[in-house]
Amino acid sequence: MVSIKINGNLYNVPADYTILKAAEENGIDIPTLCYEEGLTITGACRMCVVEVKGARKLLAACATPVTDGMEVQTESERVVSARRDILRLLIANHDLRCLTCERNGDCRLQDYCYRYQVEDTPYKGAKKEYPIDTDNHFFIRDYSKCIKCGKCVLICAEVNGAHVYDFMERGFDTKVTSAFDDNLQETTCTACGMCVNVCPVGALVEKSVLWQGRPWEVKKVTTTCGYCGVGCQLKLKVKDDRIIGVAAAKSGSNLGHLCAKGQFGWEYVQSNDRLTDPLIKRNGVFEKVSWDEALTYVANRLKAIWQEHGGQAFAGLTSAKCTNEENYLFQKFMRTILKTNNVDHCARL
């Protein structure tokens, strides 16, 4: 452990911490754009610069390890001035049509401009304008809004391993894109959508959320993915009782990481094919019936068969897709009411 002073207060933190981590754990908010826990620290955006006593320059909090006796100022005049300049430079080359941006209200760039009262930029000049890429099935790529934080590049390369993105060209012409600037279907992209979830601005946006609602109108419900046994945690984005997308949740072992199924495979829930009423087959055709009729019918059929053949004439398949509570009740039903242990599910398939 080492002791450091942040904004005049003394804290004891593990020696392998960065200033950013030490501050975060003690409830001190340092703004970041390019930092993402678990990815390589690039220190590229400089938003997290802080003043360290004795250091000649401002230091990036994400990339600077703590040392014993260190004294840090996170919101000093010098720090704030530097952050303002960074923001002014960023918005000098940013599509500022925030009015209709899907990330309006949920945008780091916007939040920090507000926090540091940056209304405009003195750096007038050329702006990069790119056509919006809508070629892949799942999300749009609007590079006029990209701030080149590089998090999409890193998460794709370091977590997924697909390494679809990288920086192309240099200087003012720099653009994050795929090999040969190709559309994503032609690359190693596996449609995991993690790039969308780490984008701090409106450059990468799920198609399913477009024009569906403002971020503050969207309820996010943390739950467990319904596909494979990894059990990833995710947040369902819900607007007007409809799922419109998925956001990352960091409370599970998946650490916010998802695959194509968890991120983009949820639409079946709202499919028109969903069964909405109990059905009884009569003369080979299914007819909609009330719950009371259906359950009475099933109970009578089961009772009649039970009286004639006993419990060994029954078998039940419970479900690896249903909850623990449902599975518990199902086997209890088979064992205590139908009196059979003939209960199994697809564990073997």
């Binding site: 943390t222 639409e267 059929r301 897709k321 249903c322 623990n324 205590t336």
Partner: protein, 528 residues
């Protein structure tokens, strides 16, 4: 799962992780990028084979020979954990005799894996301080599935890779709650928490707890149920959220069996191929419309929360079961819903005794969790095995139930792809469908040439049990003489081909190997 980042060597066998369990696949790739070693054993050139330090391309169905071969070299080169074996295992000498017969040359004859490569892999695994074994259905879906798993357990005990962080044996579960369905007693021989139906003590415990007499006879597994239904012994079935018509082996037999029932009730969210055969269909709720818990492959019990309202007149599956129990004349009542059901589970299931919805609010808990103040258990067998000492099981290689022959010369193996899931009832109704809208049977270029087939041609695939039509993909992802199909597509119902020969202990069918033959057809013969 994240422990894989802290292991030195990962031995991955019979698991196509990057497609079937993608986020676990990410962890393995991250581990490799961080300098960990990876050994992949798989007949298919899976994505992780490209990340592997050593790729062992064994012939399908020869896993025991391969694993015994690795153990043989580890013993021979004195890379085993003598202290662990002495303190915590039994049956070593008997097992050693068997393993000594699996010298690298013999293993090469059986598996096709070069002796030098096997030795190199054995040294890499044996020399590691902390090594992990990861497997999935490629190990279990064989008639020797149980023995395959036991031979992996032997390897873990031999090298002392049990019960410590960053080591161990990781079975990857396929479905979101297959672990939980097993934990909850959704099995013919177990009550909740793996309490044996055969044990008089457990039976009495549950009879008292539920306040009823309980049947003594151990139940039938799904494959046996289908045989019994076919034979007319099972008269009625209640199927909740399963689609055996597409998921189970020898599908024609399954369809005949279900048609032979006096009464079939299916509870599902879609009119599945199985539901179509039912007399009554009850509309359940999807994971987004109900509350409850799922238990993942690391035994972590996690919350499921309702995000949207129920569709039409559908109901949560738990409410349906309770309502049906009431109609049958049983006064079941859970007015507080799943919270209250979990309280009952905790009272009768020792490994879930400390679980409650409140405790799962911010993060899941790994069972065993025996009391409300217990933090959960990240890894098992730390100081002792469940049975006391770890047992070496002497297991021999045995051939598959149906190897390719002159009549059916190609070996069919089955699995999943990244963009679809299981029988496709969920994934095919989402945008994922656009990524992979149809089956593409994988076939090696040499085999394709023999049959005068080009990429994207159509073939009819026939086995002794049925036939399906499919488009093909010519690729060296699989070796010559082998073809690969998924079971996601109802247009290509692969399980009409597969065999329902099962492992005698686990009853898992041998979905990974059967003999097929193919012939070229015109695309028009494929029905959508």
């Amino acid at each position: 799962m994240n422990e894989l980042l802290n292991t030195e060597v990962i031995f991955l066998i019979g698991a196509n992780t990057t497609e079937a369990h993608p986020v676990t696949g990410y962890r393995i790739k991250q581990a490799v990028r961080n300098g960990r070693k990876l050994i992949v054993a798989d007949p298919r050139k899976i994505e992780l084979a490209k990340y592997a330090d050593i790729w062992l391309r064994q012939r399908p169905g020869t896993d025991i020979a391969l694993i015994n071969g690795l153990a043989h070299v580890i013993l021979r080169d004195d890379l085993w954990d003598r202290k662990f074996v002495a303190d915590r295992s039994e049956g070593f000498d008997e097992w050693r005799e068997i393993v000594e017969q699996y010298n690298p040359k013999r293993v090469e004859q059986i598996t096709g894996v070069k002796a030098e490569l096997l030795e190199e892999a054995a040294r890499m695994f044996g020399q590691a301080e902390r090594a992990s074994i990861v497997y999935a259905m490629g190990i279990t879906q064989h008639i020797s599935g149980t023995q395959n798993v036991l031979s992996l357990a032997n390897l873990a005990i031999l090298t002392g890779n049990v019960g410590k962080e960053g080591a161990g044996v990781y079975p990857l579960r396929g479905q979101n709650n297959v672990q939980g369905a097993c934990d909850m007693g959704g099995l013919p021989n177990y009550y909740p928490g793996y309490q044996l139906v055969e044990s008089e003590e457990s039976r009495e415990k549950f009879a008292k707890f539920w306040g009823v007499e309980l049947p003594e006879k151990v139940g039938l597994t799904v494959t046996d149920m289908m045989d019994a239904a076919y034979a007319g012994e099972i008269k009625a079935m209640y199927i909740m959220g399963e689609n055996p018509v597409l998921s189970d082996p020898d599908a024609n037999h399954v369809i005949e069996a279900l048609k032979n029932l006096d009464f079939l009730v299916v509870q599902d969210i879609f009119m599945t191929e199985t539901a179509e055969l039912a007399e009554v269909v009850l509309p359940g709720a999807s994971f987004a419309e109900k509350t409850g818990t799922f238990t993942n492959t690391e035994r972590r019990i996690q919350r499921v929360r309702q995000a949207i309202s129920l569709r039409g007149n559908s109901k949560p599956d738990s409410e349906i079961i309770v309502a049906l129990a009431n109609k049958m004349g049983h006064a079941w009542s859970y007015p507080r819903g799943p919270v209250e059901i979990m309280e009952e589970i905790a009272r009768c299931t020792p490994s879930y005794a400390g679980i409650s919805f409140d405790r799962l609010e911010t993060r899941g808990i790994q069972w065993p969790c025996p009391s409300p103040d217990h933090p959960g258990t990240p890894f098992l067998h730390k100081d002792t095995f469940t049975r006391g000492k770890g047992k070496f099981h002497a297991v021999h290689y045995m051939p598959a139930a149906e190897e390719p022959d002159e009549e059916y010369p190609l070996l069919l193996t089955t699995g999943r792809n990244l963009y679809q899931f299981h029988t496709g009832s969920m994934s095919r109704r989402s945008k994922l469908e656009r990524m992979r809208p149809e089956e593409l049977m994988m076939i090696h270029p040499n085999t394709a040439r023999e049959y005068k087939l080009k990429d994207k041609d159509y073939v009819q695939v026939e086995s002794r049990r049925g036939e399906v039509q499919t488009k093909i993909q010519v690729t060296d992802h699989i070796p010559p003489g082998m073809v690969f199909l998924t079971f996601h597509y109802k247009e290509t119902p692969t399980n009409r081909l597969t065999i329902n020969a099962t492992d005698p202990v686990s009853n898992i069918p041998e979905l990974k190997i059967c003999g097929v033959r193919i012939k070229k057809i015109k695309p028009s013969l494929i029905s959508k």
